[in-house]
Symmetry: C2
Subunit: 164 residues, 2 copies
């Protein structure tokens, strides 16, 4: 488990290979196992596999061009009427999905829509989201096309003991 | 790994037992393995084991009274000058730490300080944080005092295919 956390990396190139439905279900379950403030669970997940929808999002989202090759994307959304802090809970959902992808031999990357007004608008239009549903991010997912190495990011200078 | 994600739960009662330093280091490494926008890594982590500091935070934070019993807390902070979206990156850090705790046989819980002005002020004062360093949350950590069961949170009604 610790290995999986340390091995997770952003994967942006994918094989032309579908993701098994069982794996998709595991990703969704992992996502919804996240904690949330007051256990409100304000999340909603959109699973995108239709090529036309993936391409339309790639077209509109500047940092999500890899959707053109990805066989799958999960769009992590929150219901802003349920929680004003939906974006924190949904970040935990996203991290769970990214880790589950790594554990399943898949590659994925967090491409932000929130808090960018124009990117959220692209997701809203392409996915027909209701007004109260905001997207946090689009996660393209696929089998990695090439081997990826995780970055070593631990920095002891960022650790403080008992006070700054 | 998937099991660990599904088994993670909020643990609020702890044994009176110190956490081994090796485990603390693993929690910190797991935290810093999180992704961040543009790979900016705006996080800073404060490890708190001094009883007086834990108690002072318990006193000031309404939902973190369990700090009175916890042998350890990690306060996840962000440098707001490095990234305006530090709280999203730091949410991924927090989730990694919660999962690593579960994997190590520890129990932990996300107690929010951000976006609550008065709670952030408590952390700032007790930890002597510089003005540009905001706390996202305080994570009390310890060996669970009682067995905890994870909640079943998967809800198929929250899954949408290709569009809402």
């Amino acid at each position: 488990m610790i290995e999986t956390i340390l091995n997770r990396k952003s994967v942006r190139k994918y094989l032309d290979k579908e993701i098994e439905d069982e794996k998709v279900q595991t990703l969704l379950k992992a996502g919804m196992a996240a904690p949330s403030g007051k256990d409100i669970r304000p999340w909603e997940l959109v699973v995108v596999t239709e090529r036309s929808v993936l391409s339309a999002m790639a077209e509109g989202l500047p940092y999500a061009k890899m959707l053109n090759e990805a066989p799958l994307a999960i769009v992590v959304c929150g219901d802003i009427e349920k929680s004003p802090y939906w974006y924190l809970d949904c970040s935990a959902v996203t991290q769970n999905i990214l880790l589950a992808a790594e554990a399943l031999g898949l590659g994925a990357v967090w491409t932000a829509t929130y808090p960018y007004e124009e990117r959220m608008q692209v997701a809203k239009e392409q996915l027909a989201l209701p007004d109260k549903i905001f997207s946090l991010c689009v996660i393209p997912i696929g089998y990695p096309a090439t081997p990826y190495k995780p970055r070593e990011k631990f920095d002891p200078k960022k650790v403080h003991y008992n006070r700054w």
